[in-house]
Amino acid sequence: MRKIVSIILLSVIAIGIVLTLMKIPFAVPKTKVGAYYVDKGVGQTGAVNIVTSVVLNYRGFDTLGEVTVLFIAALGLGAVLATVKKKTKREIMPSSLVLSTGCKFLFPFILLFGTYIFIHGHLTPGGGFQGGAIIASGFLLIYLSCPKKRINEARFKVTESIAGLTFVITGILGLAFGGYFLFNFLPKGVANTLFSAGIIPIIYIAIGFKVGAELAGIIDGLMRISE
C-alpha cells in the first residue's frame, strides 16, 4: 500500500519536473547575471576565479548566512549528542604499526594541502569550504587509525569562533570604510597573483579555518559516543 502510494506520488512529481525541464534548453547560456559576472568579475573584484568572486563578493552576505547554517547544524549535533546517557563500551583493537605510522606521516601533508587549497581560493579551483573539508578529512584519518587520540575540543571551539568573528569584523570594516557590509576596502592588486582581490583571501582563510574546525568537531562528536 505504502509503496503504491509512493510510486503514484513520485510519478506526479516526475511529470512536474519533466514538464519544467522541457522548457530549459541544455548546454546554452541561460542567465544574464552569469554572463555579467564572467565579463566584469575580474575588473570589479580582482579575483580571477569567478566562482570565488560570486561566493564572497557579489553574494558575500548569502555566504555569511550559509556559514551560519553550518554552525547551527554543528551546534545542534553537539546538543543532541550531549544528552546521550549510557556510553556503550566497545572493544577497540589497536591498529598496526604500519597503519598508524603511515597516517601520522600523511597527516601534516593533508593539512598543508588543505591550507594551499583555501589560500589560493581566488586563483585556482577551490576555496575555504573545500580546504576546510580536506583538513577535516585529515583529522578523520587520525581518528580512524589511532582510536586513542582526541582533539582538544575547547581549542577547536575557540578557533571556530575567532574565524567566524573575522568574517563578521571584515564585513563591518567594509561598512565603516565603504558604506556597505562586506565592501572590498583593501587594494585589489594585480590579478592572478597571490596578494590580490582585497578582502577575498582574508575571508576565505577564515572560512577555511571555520569549516575545518567545525567538521573536525562533528567527527569528534560522532566518535565520542562509542568509546
Binding site: V28, E66, L81, K85, T124, A133
Partner: protein, 119 residues
C-alpha cells in the same frame, strides 16, 4: 539518440532525486532514509550544475590570457552548489546524531515500531 545526447544529464540528476525520494517514502529503516536523503542531495546538486553547463565550456577562471568569456560555464550555480555540499554534510551528520539518539531511546531504528512516528 540526439534526445539522449541532449538530456542524459538531466535524466541522471532527476533520476537520483526520484530514487532518493522513493527511499525516503517507502523504506522503514531510519539509516536507509538518511541514505536516501544523501542521494537526493547529490541529485539536486547535479541538476543545478547541469543547468549551468555550456557546450564545450571551460571553468570560469581566468588563469591565463586568451580565454573567451563566452565559452565559460555559468558561475552562479557552481557558487551555490559549493556551499550546498558542505551544508549537506553537516545536515547529514545532524540527522545521524538524531538517529543515534532515537536508537538509544527506543532500541530500534524501524519507523513502524517507534510509536509516535507511525506513518
Amino acid at each position: 539518440m540526439s534526445f539522449l545526447n541532449n538530456y542524459i544529464y538531466y535524466i541522471g540528476a532527476v533520476g537520483l532525486i526520484l530514487i532518493g525520494l522513493y527511499i525516503l517514502l517507502a523504506k522503514h529503516n531510519l539509516i536507509k532514509m538518511i541514505i536516501g536523503l544523501a542521494i537526493m542531495d547529490t541529485g539536486v546538486n547535479l541538476l543545478l550544475i547541469t543547468i549551468g553547463y555550456i557546450k564545450k565550456g571551460t571553468a570560469p577562471i581566468f588563469s591565463k590570457t586568451g580565454l573567451n568569456p563566452r565559452n565559460m560555464v555559468d558561475p552562479v550555480p557552481q557558487a551555490l552548489v559549493l556551499t550546498a555540499i558542505v551544508i549537506g554534510v553537516a545536515v547529514l551528520a545532524l540527522a545521524l546524531s538524531l538517529a543515534i539518539r532515537l536508537y538509544q531511546h527506543y532500541g530500534t531504528l524501524d519507523m513502524r515500531k517507534i510509536k509516535e512516528q507511525r506513518w
